[in-house]
């Protein structure tokens, strides 16, 4: 009974927030150990992965070598275009500006063992680092997820593949609009597409910003299949994330409050 009363007392202290400094201290002290353990697991996983796919890797290597040759020639072409573009910009006096003037916060990713679907992660930055609920997780121009819970030194974020995720989206090629939802933590689904709208496999889907939650122009996924049911008034599309989300080690937090 003594331990039950102690645990109840700790719970009350936890609810009142008295244990917040202790939590912050423990999370800060334990983070280097967690990082070491995480990278040990990543190395073990990579080693196992390499051994099981060694033949595939050889084939892939040959293909990549071919691809690299064609990409090199493409880069040369693009460099020429870029030079031309710079010249035209100078001529038109257009100033280059960054889309994001906000300071990004670099964070390490930790898996969330409480999440059975693998659709949420912890990041090692919290309110002390300026992180707030609603901030976005990004990597280059890819949207990774959204912060949903914040403590002093750690935050919980849902990934774009989470079933709790939804964002207004648009097809980069055809401007077809829809709503992108997380789908069982593996894929994404673009819904509410009008039947006459143009969308095909391979199209890049980006956030449109029309939901007022996500900034426009962030990549969400690539169309895998378009699902058309004659009985349904609207069609949908199955997307695969453009980024390998499950292997992410570092992300940037984009503060939305600012």
């Amino acid at each position: 009974m003594k331990y039950f009363l102690i645990s109840l007392f700790i719970f009350i202290l936890g609810i009142l927030g008295t244990l917040r400094p202790l939590r912050g201290l423990l999370q800060q002290v334990s983070f280097p150990i967690q990082l070491g353990l995480k990278y040990t697991a990543v190395n073990i996983k990579d080693g196992i992965n390499f051994l099981t796919h060694v033949f595939d890797i050889h084939k892939e290597n040959l293909l990549l070598a071919k691809e690299m040759l064609s990409l090199k020639s493409r880069i040369l072409e693009l460099e020429e275009v870029s030079r031309e573009n710079d010249l035209l910009r100078e001529q038109l006096a257009i100033e280059e500006s960054s889309d994001l003037d906000i300071q990004l916060i670099l964070a390490e990713v930790l898996r969330n063992p409480r999440d059975l679907t693998g659709a949420s992660i912890f990041v090692n930055k919290g309110s002390k680092n300026g992180v707030a609920v609603g901030d976005l997780l990004i990597l280059e121009k890819y949207l990774v997820g959204k912060i949903v819970e914040v403590t002093e030194f750690r935050s919980l974020a849902i990934l774009i593949t989470s079933r709790e995720f939804s964002a207004a989206a648009v097809d980069l090629r055809s401007d077809t609009e829809g709503i992108v939802l997380g789908n069982y933590s593996i894929t994404l689904e673009m819904t509410r597409i009008l039947p006459q709208e143009d969308i095909i496999p391979g199209d890049l889907i980006i956030s449109s910003g029309k939901d007022g939650i996500f900034l426009p122009g962030f990549v969400l996924g690539i169309v895998d299949t378009v699902l058309e049911d004659p009985a349904e008034p609207l069609k949908s599309a199955q997307l695969r994330p453009a980024l390998e989300i499950s292997t992410l080690q570092k992300v940037f937090i984009l503060p939305m409050a600012k």
Binding site: Y3, F4, S7, R23, A41, R111, T117, F122, R154
Partner: protein, 153 residues
């Protein structure tokens, strides 16, 4: 104090391994509750006082390293251990009760943890419980060996 220190560090290391190592290695939530497995292995091998202390530390440390309310897991764990102890005392005896109790607790704990989430994946919950059960067996073996050596001296 020595017992508290030992259990504190054992639970801390296990919670860290559970979160950072197994979380990354197994992915998709297939992470066994190894800290809980230690508590349930102690339940079979040592006295109730040590088991409850381990359960309390396991719950508090799990909550402190997460983002939810601190102490909720500890209350849940300690009350469950007391409930199982009562069942064992009044109704059924034997280690099999501990095995069933562990699997049930692991599943219940995951189900409660999934309340905030939209998706509850039952096969993942079951796999986690079974992996935890294997860990419990390993811990039981280690503790038994440790106790044998201690008493043979």
């Amino acid at each position: 104090m020595k017992k508290f220190g030992g259990l504190f560090f054992a639970n801390l290391i296990l919670v860290l391994i559970q979160q950072a190592f197994f979380g990354e290695l197994f992915g998709l939530g297939y992470t066994p509750h190894i800290a809980l497995a230690l508590t349930f292995a102690l339940f079979v091998t040592v006295e109730m006082e040590t088991t409850l202390l381990s359960g309390l530390l396991c719950g508090v440390l799990t909550d402190l390293l997460g983002t939810g309310p601190v102490g909720l897991s500890a209350v849940f764990c300690v009350s469950y251990l007391l409930f199982v102890a009562y069942i064992k005392k009044r109704f059924i005896k034997g280690a099999v009760v501990n095995i069933i109790a562990f699997v049930a607790f692991s599943c219940l704990y995951d189900l409660l943890g999934s309340f905030s989430s939209v998706t509850v994946v039952f096969n993942v919950i079951l796999v986690r419980a079974l992996l935890g059960l294997i860990s419990l067996g390993v811990f039981y073996f280690i503790i038994q060996r440790f106790l044998d050596e201690k008493y043979s001296l």
